[in-house]
Amino acid sequence: MSILVNKKTKVIVQGITGRDGSFHAEQMKKYGTDVVGGVTPGKGGTKVNGIPVFDSVAEAVLKTKANTSVIYVPPAFAVDAMYEAVDAGISLVVCITEGVPANEMLKAFYYIKSQGARLIGPNCPGIISPELSKVGILPGNICRKGPIGVVSRSGTLTYEAIWALTCANLGQTTCMGIGGDQIIGTNFIDALQMFEEDKATKAVVMIGEIGGTDEEEAAEFFRKKMTKPIVGFIAGRSAPPGKRMGHAGAIISGGTGTAKEKIEALNRVGIPVAASPNEIPGMVKEALDKAKTKAKKAPKKRTVGTKKAAKRKKVTARKTPKKSKAGKAGAKRRK
């Protein structure tokens, strides 16, 4: 099991004829991802590494039944690429591109949501479900299949954490980089919710960094809604304070987004935070053992937990039809 990407994932690569697009299309294919096509306007009918190229996403979807898109186009065209993918019925859009203006992302975020699609990124390494599918630029060779979910705001730091897990024989269900920008399509809470619902995931590693209050909100979500353990890591403990945005930055968030505040918020709800990526596997093992003994020792508690989980399932069940209603415009959206 995994979240978001699996063997049913059919990927088209937007910007496949570019330097990054062509390289990573091939890497994804080598990993075993079902890369069914690419899109570059004006290059339709050609092939890149044996992958057919189309002029538009709509055409690619029509001919290949793609359900997922990965975007490698330059920042000036990235938002348009997102709109095009969503309008063509793509349900999962992964945007690797770095440097998309935040104000453009604000508009795109609400549009994509209103169409019932999901965006990961921008400015992210993508998502991988080991041995099933990889969409993005994460190096596949550092991942192994297993019970840990990984979600991160960073790129290479995520690789570091995944590699530490793999070396300690802790494989992963899915590893996802959600992106380092201010406005991103999928946040920690979305990812945590999916990992909570995924049966194969037994624990989650969450890698945050300074700035914003996403980690604090994730901590609150964990306290209220999660039964699976989380191990945290926060980058930027040593960052000098004072790089801030006028008065408004301090006023708006109520906090200052420092590592200290974030670590305290996580610890307060019972999420241990590693000081080095190398400490993560040990903490994960400990959390898994704790969860096991808890389950054995207190069957009563477990029942409560199951009830809670059942209740939550109901809520999600109620939400689901609502979602599909909202996505009526994209009724043909492929899942």
């Binding site: 920042p75 203006p101 104000n103 201010q182 996403d214």
Partner: protein
């Protein structure tokens, strides 16, 4: 990117927001000339990219031309929080009846631009927000609809009782939102927005930060960048497509990826060392970037060891290795280099690096500890 107050006021004026008359001066003679043109008492305001100018003495009232000359002379060259003042704004001094605050910022939590206003504006606005949050009024704007005039009116009515002033302030808020959107700002701020005894509503201060990601399509604003007011090493880094922040420690760090760069610095500190900088060479692996990075770091006399930590994904380790060799030949570093290269083309990289004298490590913790140890050993040239 930050721009100066005088530049922000130019943008405000273009957007139709009332600002006092004024111009920027780099000498006291120029300052006097501008004050003479204004023909009224003026304010002499230091133009530096830092808050708290007023509290540091960088903003002064000049009753007459002589006072303008004296203050300009004093403020030009002044040091404010480590930044040297090379420009002063000479602007008409206004009669202030009330001071309010108006700001717009992108809010990642609500995923919207949020407009904030407070009738308690001025230099203590952050204290107001912390101690009396009920005096701050916020309005999130649906980015697909834009700011509606009723929302601007509601906000303005939190500032003033007089309907004429409410209308004027609503107009200013509306125009400020348009400016915010048009120039890809990440922050626009008027603090204070004042009323005069004559009933005018004027923005007597202006602050604008631009979203760096929007600069490619904001050529006019991008040209406002003041290289003199930035750290030269940071300018060189930016031009070489690197992100760099200078710190005070003795271990230079070169890392790929911002998150990993921060985590590496954190570990240096965790094991008792002090990082000399934050430096992210980014995703691509041009050897030239490594050379530029090394040049910037080795120029810092505090640096006693350089730690290079690369986790190759898109970045190919052999490219980085070529950069290190280039740096060795060109810069002949006298401090020890500790290197960890892992991931894409790691084996090729090791072969390339046989040519130079380096300390290697396999894990992040290992190289960090090694670098700290080497930096501690008394180092003689």
């Amino acid at each position: 990117m930050k721009i100066h107050e005088y530049q922000a006021k130019e943008i405000f004026a273009e957007g139709g927001i009332p600002v006092p008359m004024g111009r920027v001066a780099t000498t006291s003679a120029e300052a006097v000339q501008i004050a003479e043109e204004i023909g009224r008492p003026v304010m002499v305001k230091a133009q530096v990219h830092v808050g708290g100018r007023g509290k540091a003495g960088g903003i002064q009232y000049a009753e007459n031309l002589e006072a303008a000359r004296v203050w300009a002379q004093k403020i030009l060259g002044m040091d404010i929080k480590g930044l040297k003042v090379s420009k002063v704004l000479i602007t008409e001094a206004a009669d202030i009846l009330t001071e309010s605050y108006v700001g717009i910022i992108i809010d990642r939590a609500t995923k919207a631009p949020v407009i904030m206003v407070s009738p308690a504006g001025g230099i203590d606005i952050e204290e107001v927000a912390a101690k009396t949050p009920e005096k701050i009024f916020k309005q999130a704007v649906d980015p697909t609809l834009g700011l509606r005039s009723y929302q601007a009116r509601d906000l303005a009515s939190k500032l003033y009782k007089d309907i004429k002033q409410v209308r004027k302030a609503a107009d200013i808020i509306m125009k400020l939102y348009n400016v915010y959107w048009k120039i890809d700002a990440s922050l626009v701020e008027i603090n204070p927005l004042i009323t005069t005894p004559q009933g005018e509503v004027i923005a007597i201060d202006a602050k604008i930060n631009i979203d760096d990601n929007g600069l490619y399509r904001q050529k006019a604003v991008a040209a406002m960048r003041d290289l003199d007011s930035e750290d030269p090493a940071e300018v060189e880094a930016r031009e070489g497509d690197l992100s760099f922040v200078k710190l005070t420690g003795n271990i230079g760090c070169i890392v790929n990826g911002a998150g990993l760069a921060m985590a590496t610095m954190d570990l240096v500190k965790h094991y008792g060392g002090e990082p000399a900088n934050f430096l992210d060479i980014g995703g691509s692996s041009n050897p030239q970037k490594v050379l530029t990075a090394m040049r910037i770091i080795l120029r810092d006399p505090n640096v006693r060891a350089v730690l290079i930590n690369i986790f190759g994904g898109i970045t190919r380790c052999d490219d980085v290795a070529n950069g290190i060799v280039m740096a060795y030949e060109e810069l002949k570093p006298e401090v020890p280099l500790v290197v960890r290269l892992t991931g894409t083309n790691e084996d090729k990289a090791r072969k390339i690096l046989k040519a130079v004298d380096l300390k290697f490590g396999d894990t992040l913790d290992e190289v960090v500890k090694k670098a700290i140890k080497l930096a501690e050993i008394e180092y003689t040239v």
